[in-house]
Amino acid sequence: MLRPDGTLKVTGEFAYSSDLWLDGMLWGATLRSPHPSAWIRSVDVGPALAMPGVFAVLTHEDVPGEKFYGLEHKDQPVLAIDQVRYQGEAVALVAADHPETARRAAAAIVVDYEVREAVVDARRAAFDPSCPPVHAHGNLVRHQPVRVGSTFDAPVVVTGEYEVGMQDQAFLGPESGLAVPGEDGGVDLYVATQWLHVDQDQVAPCLALPKEKVRLSLAGVGGAFGAREDLSMQIHASMLALRTGKPVKIVYGREESFFGHVHRHPARMRYEHGATADGRLVYVRAEIVLDGGAYCSSSPAVVGNAASLGVGPYEVGNVWIDAYGVYTNNPPCGAMRGFGAVQACYAYESQMDRLAEACGLSPVEVRIRNAVSQGSKLATGQIVDTPAPLADMLRELEAMPGPGEPSAARDLRSLPGGVAQTTHGEGVRRGVGYGVGIKNICFSEGFDDYSTARVRVELLGGEPHVLVHTAAAEVGQGLITIKAQIARTELGIDKVTIAPADTSVGSAGSSSASRQSYVTGGAVKATCEAVRERLDRMRAGHPELTLEELLELYGPVEETREYRHRPTTPMDPLTGQGDSHVQLALCVHRAVVDVDVELGLVKVVELAAVQDVGRILNPLALEGQIHGGTAQGLGLALMEEIQVRDGKVLNPSFTDYLIPTILDMPPMRLSILENPDPHAPYGLRGAGEPPTLSSTPAVAAAVRAATGLDLPRVPIRPEDIALVPAAG
């Protein structure tokens, strides 16, 4: 089955949000702060307004409604008010008849800044009472403890301090959209996003419009990975459109995009694992500090994940975790594939390797000895009530054939450095490493997480057709195909059309948390069942009629349903206890790397993975998700980092923010298991995020095995390997 957008994307014909066009439209541009922290003494928009071709120049004073917005807390100003809290914060907007004019006009706005001390150290923000507050309410966004048991000594103790750099989602389609003023005083917004309705919820109050007058339609999305959960240009373009009465398009350039969305939280983590001499965990203590940057975004939920999943998929009787999310004047951080579980996974898996070494066990054996299984209790007290065959997955992974030894006559492309020819084999050592990850699927901690589907069966040209309408965002993951598959399967009708996603149907929730196959898939399934029941009733009255004749007789059949997964509970604020997660997914990775230990360059030779997905819906799309998630984890291990110094981003470009190429990502060996989750539609388990967790520690462990170095930080830089400090 071909995905409908596949050929268009490969041939370059797919219409992305940046391709939107209306005759007579204006172009919006955003003036952003060059400073991570400053007072704004004055803003003079006069020089911009005076430029020919400029239609509007707006500041916070022009925001029609509420001045602040945000996913979890409304702490982010639509446009800066009297101060800026990060480099790149939006200060003013311009609409002009040409994008170049708009940019130049934005640059002509005169802002008088009084630069002040920037808070850039997350640990200081968390623990130093003398640290200046980034917001009046302080620097702590969330502190989530987990407290289980009281035994915090053990025969074997391993400790470590770990650091994860700031990763970017690096989607290829920059933030973009088109706002069209409506005749009713409202606005129609075409935008690439992950969740139309939560955008609508945030945009409407800032425009002082009722929600029904802010109509959103999904435009072509060029990747998301969490970076489109927060608003970017939505309110800005709408403000300009309402002010000028003309359609306004905003497209960020690549550099602006690095300032236009949140990133993965950098983390600093201290871990202590205590175990028996034979490697069984007695306790885990951890302190996890996540740098949320200037605004809240989804930091509280990220902290919740880091805390609740902070020991990994292991049975531990005693747990003492403190996870913190803090404000700083660094770039705002929020959702990215893996969402708080990635950072913790790198640390606890590094610890498991240290524990293996301390106990004289293999990395696989120490994990098997502590692995969760169905019936295990997580650190939150939640019982794993669905299949979780981690030990078997590890055994299967270990037994998979490896890539084989390097041959004598080697293609440069198979060596560290590739065709850049830094070695012909000199200094190259092989290493193997393992990683295990556990990820919550769907929204956690008591969130009312649902999706809506509308399904219509009607005769078109004498043939029965199905129209499936949801607001779920296709962000490249292949949800369109899944929805059509479900409709075909449930209704037995071949002709299925997926209607464009927009806000004229109820919310589908976010294309995040690996949840859409589960929740929107579940909604489409439930709605198709309702349609089928009606068809069955119609059939019961006229057993002699065909489906075509029934539809001819009764007309179209349409049903709309909301689907909810089973409820979750919040984490106890003091102990972290609670059934906070809907579903848990496991992935395990083995990485084989060749490291040029003299130059610090790494070639990942092979990545093998075992993942339990409950039920395979679309094998090709699923494998793509596992490959892609693995590649993103490899990127975090070896190269992907937004370098921030004194609150300023040093590498806002794909020239210097490196993501893996096809020569960096090795072939993968996959084993996909189908142990169904009885609570989920078809028994499926969300699949997009888990591989992003475990590939990072697996690659890092393999590099450690090749070099014998500690490497407590990812991404691992060449100099971390090649220039080992004398003391280290």
């Binding site: 065709v419 084999g425 020569l663 220039l723």
Partner: protein, 287 residues
């Protein structure tokens, strides 16, 4: 912004004489990026693509004359045996799409210290053929780079070709990047053996304000090598060569790498590439 589109080389020179501020453009892989990033806004672009003669290369005696419009892709496909060092460097430039458009002359025009073509040009002793309505100048490559992104071209001059001695001995190019393809050099190094002259050429990239040679290293190793008897490379001499190459560099800390790592990796690349070249020369086969 004016867009000048000469059809002949003479027209191109006339335009450049008339509009010395015009920026020449061939593949556009540098110029267009700069324009898109709003870094500098040329008053005029001088499009050399229609000038067909620039896309030719020829052999002139022992020299290969590479027209300013010859792309990296063609250089790799057509000139690998004659200019192995430059072909190896070309292979590391950007992506296939970039190599289909980009040219060595463009690399020279931009004169970025990180340009991949510079080290092998230095190691081979290339000559830049610059021309204006006033005449032709043959600029030795060592005199071409005058500062960060600055070169010896006069305002009315255009690069017509690069003249590079055909390889008379083994050549190697090596470049550090933080990923295995499509990466700007953290630093790079080229070595060329000139057995006839008993000389070793070097070129250092991305580790000083300009691409540069390592003269002391060249002299040291030329004397240390057993050209006559072709005995194996002394590891101590190879190491010393690496140290001297690093000593010739003046790198900085920047977003792509640290100065101390650049020095370290230059020494390693110099030692390794010399070893490969010497093994080839002495017939010991690939290292």
């Amino acid at each position: 912004m004016d867009f000048l589109r000469p059809v002949t080389w003479e027209q191109a020179l006339a335009y450049k004489a008339e509009r010395p501020e015009a920026t020449p453009i061939q593949g556009g892989t540098d110029v267009m990026v700069e324009i898109n990033l709003d870094k500098g806004r040329p008053a005029a672009l001088l499009d050399l693509n229609p000038v067909a003669e620039l896309t030719r290369w020829s052999t002139e005696g022992t020299e290969i004359r590479v027209g300013a419009g010859v792309t990296y892709t063609r250089l790799i496909a057509e000139l690998g045996p004659l200019l192995p060092g430059l072909a190896q460097a070309s292979r590391t430039v950007g992506s296939p799409q970039i190599r289909n458009r980009g040219t060595v002359a463009g690399n020279l025009g931009a004169a970025s210290p990180a340009g991949d073509a510079h080290p092998p040009l230095l190691a081979s002793g290339a000559i830049v053929e610059a021309e204006s309505v006033r005449g032709t100048r043959m600029i030795p490559i060592t005199e071409f780079y005058t500062g960060v992104k600055r070169n010896a071209l006069r305002p009315d001059e255009l690069i017509r070709a690069v003249r590079i001695p055909a390889a008379a001995g083994p050549q190697y190019f090596s470049k550090i990047g933080t990923r295995n393809a499509m990466v700007i050099a953290v630093c790079s190094f080229a070595v060329a053996l000139h057995p006839g002259e008993r000389r070793v050429g070097t070129g250092i990239g991305s580790a000083a304000p300009t691409p540069r040679r390592a003269p002391e290293a060249e002299e040291f190793v030329a004397a240390a090598l057993d050209w006559e008897g072709r005995s194996p490379l002394d590891p101590g001499a190879a190491r010393r060569f690496g140290e001297l190459v690093a000593g010739a560099a003046a790198p900085i800390d920047d977003v792509r790498g640290r100065a101390d790592y650049r020095l370290h990796s230059l020494a390693v690349m110099a030692r390794r590439t010399l070893g490969w070249a010497w093994n080839d020369y002495t017939g010991r086969g690939p290292a």
